[in-house]
């Protein structure tokens, strides 16, 4: 993420500044990112720009990626776990066009990974950056609709409301409730929404060697988890948080540890389970072939 910004790669559209945003905007966003990294899990407002994509397409994540992207970076974009959905393909094409950067579907090769719903199965390494597209950054939003009051609760570190919500989930559903966006305590201080990743991925945030950046375009907020930071899912002593996956093996690669998507195979109720992380599944399949 060296930001020698004016250097244009050969096949870059000359009608745009490198990575689309102007340099002043990128600097402003990078300053916000530095603040966010200095106060892990704390939401920092920023002057979000209009992007040539509708909200819900990850405009917050795209602005963060645009601000940290350098010509030497290799970008991977995933939606759910896949690199080939319309959303992922459009974002990858966009950055290829406006920054000319190398793109990849391989987790191991990527220096920046923009994501909507997943953290890759392959363990991340030092120097890699995850950029999350966040629809709703405020973890207390459903419990306390007044934003001024949620800011006060964060300032006071008063998260009993979130604990009450968890109590209600368990009382109603029997188990540690919400399977997506399960709230986490970052660095023992701030309650954070990990964006809509499945609870299965929450443990990957804890003490990760990679830098995690979160951008919410519509709500104009940025937050971060720096490398090697404690991230703990909210739970009860007698109902510890448990990452859940469908109890099956992947139909394509046989993995019994990866997060699975359920796929309907015909209109007679046929279905199968395959890895949601397509790159991970392909790696497993290759390894299996090599071993045969």
């Amino acid at each position: 993420m060296t930001a020698s910004a004016h250097m244009q790669a050969p096949d870059t559209d000359p009608g745009y500044n490198f990575a689309y945003l102007d340099e002043a905007t990128k600097r402003m966003i990078r300053r916000t990112l530095l603040k966010a990294i200095a106060i892990p899990g704390h939401q920092i407002p920023f002057g979000a720009r209009e992007m040539p994509l509708p909200y819900g397409w990850g405009t917050g994540g795209i602005q963060v990626t645009a601000s940290i992207l350098g010509p030497d970076d290799t970008l991977k974009v995933i939606d759910q776990g896949a690199d080939d959905t319309t959303n992922a393909v459009s974002i990858r094409r966009f950055f290829h066009r406006v920054a000319g950067v190398r793109t990849t579907t391989r987790t191991a090769e990527a220096t920046i990974i923009q994501t909507r719903h997943r953290i890759p199965e392959r363990p991340l390494t030092e120097g890699q950056v995850m950029v999350f597209q966040v629809p709703m950054p405020e973890p207390l939003f459903k419990l306390e609709p007044r934003l001024a009051e949620t800011r006060r609760l964060h300032a006071l570190g008063d998260y009993s409301l979130a604990q009450v919500k968890l109590y209600e989930d368990i009382a109603r559903q029997g188990e540690g409730g919400s399977s997506y966006s399960h709230p986490v305590m970052v660095n023992h201080r701030y309650l954070m929404s990990p964006s809509p990743i499945p609870g299965f991925d929450n443990p990957k945030l804890h003490m990760s060697p990679a830098l995690m950046l979160f951008g919410a375009g519509r709500e104009k907020k940025i937050y971060a988890v720096p490398p090697y930071t404690s991230v703990v899912s909210l739970d009860f002593d007698d109902h510890p948080f448990r990452p859940v996956r469908a109890p099956h093996a992947c139909a394509a690669c046989g993995s019994t540890t990866s997060y699975l998507d359920e796929i309907v195979t015909d209109d007679r109720g046929g279905r199968m389970f395959v890895c949601s992380d397509t790159d991970h599944c392909a790696e497993n399949q290759m390894a299996r072939k090599a071993a045969e």
């Binding site: 009993s160 604990q163 739970d235």
Partner: protein, 256 residues
């Protein structure tokens, strides 16, 4: 022994209205004090200022904690004041909507203060919620129901359970039986009286119901136009009112 709570020279105006006009009041540990007076006399304002919910323009409120240290309630940092309110105090509102989370089950409402105090054992929180539902004579089997499923009287019981679960030393109540049917009021007052005696609570409560004051209070404070015009032991104030305003208040009840 020192008072548990002292209001000193409190004043608060709303525009031209003197809602509190140089009011001083002490409450002693284990004492139940009723604040009476006609509507608009400043009772709720006094209660809210003493409970730290509203800041006075002059005067101060001192709370003497269990270790005997005096805390200037309005000079505390917000975090400290909130801790105090949830650990040592309770507040029962006239309208259950103001005191309960209507979107949260009865058990969750009672458990909230335990969780705020760091409780992280789901089973223990439920056990405490069930115990407190029983103590306020509600059916613990209904602990997963929402407050709106309960009658007005039951909602007040729930509010009381929600306050008492952390064993506060001091409870504020603003017309806790207001708006309820007479027979429901009587049973709720009986319940409050027995809990207060059992737990040795200090209680400051506002009422315009002289009968409620007689039933619960050791001492009565009479307010008019933002001032205390008379105070004394409950029987003395009710049977031998000295201030003409108190005489009118007592008489209107006798006439009712």
């Amino acid at each position: 022994m020192s008072p548990i709570l002292e209001g000193q020279d409190l004043a608060l105006r709303f525009g031209a209205v003197r809602a509190l006009d140089d009011v001083s009041l002490s409450l002693w540990p284990g004492e139940v004090v009723a604040i009476v007076g006609e509507s608009g006399s400043g009772k709720s304002t006094l209660l809210r200022v003493l409970a730290g919910l509203m800041e006075p323009q002059a005067g101060r409120v001192l709370y003497h904690d269990a270790e005997g240290a005096a805390q200037d309630v309005h000079a505390l940092r917000e975090a400290e004041r909130r801790t105090l309110m949830r650990r040592d105090w309770g507040f029962v509102h006239q309208n259950a909507r103001d005191g309960l989370r209507m979107g949260v089950s009865a058990g969750g409402n009672i458990g909230e203060r335990l969780m705020a105090a760091g409780g992280r054992h789901y089973g223990n929180i439920r056990a405490a919620a069930a115990e407190w539902m029983s103590r306020v004579e509600m059916d613990p089997a209904r602990m997963d129901e929402a407050p709106r499923n309960f009658s007005g009287g039951m909602q007040q019981r729930l509010q009381i359970a929600r306050c008492l679960v952390t064993r506060p030393r001091l409870v504020f109540m603003d017309e806790p039986t207001g708006g309820l049917d007479v027979s429901v009021q009587a049973r709720l007052l009986d319940l409050i009286r027995s809990l207060v005696a059992e737990l040795g609570l200090a209680v400051l409560f506002v009422t315009h119901d002289i009968a409620a004051a007689r039933l619960l209070a050791h001492r009565i404070v009479v307010m008019r136009h933002g001032r205390i015009v008379e105070e004394g032991l409950a029987d003395r104030v009710l049977d031998d009112p000295r201030h003409p305003y108190t005489q009118l208040l007592v008489a209107s009840v006798l006439a009712a």
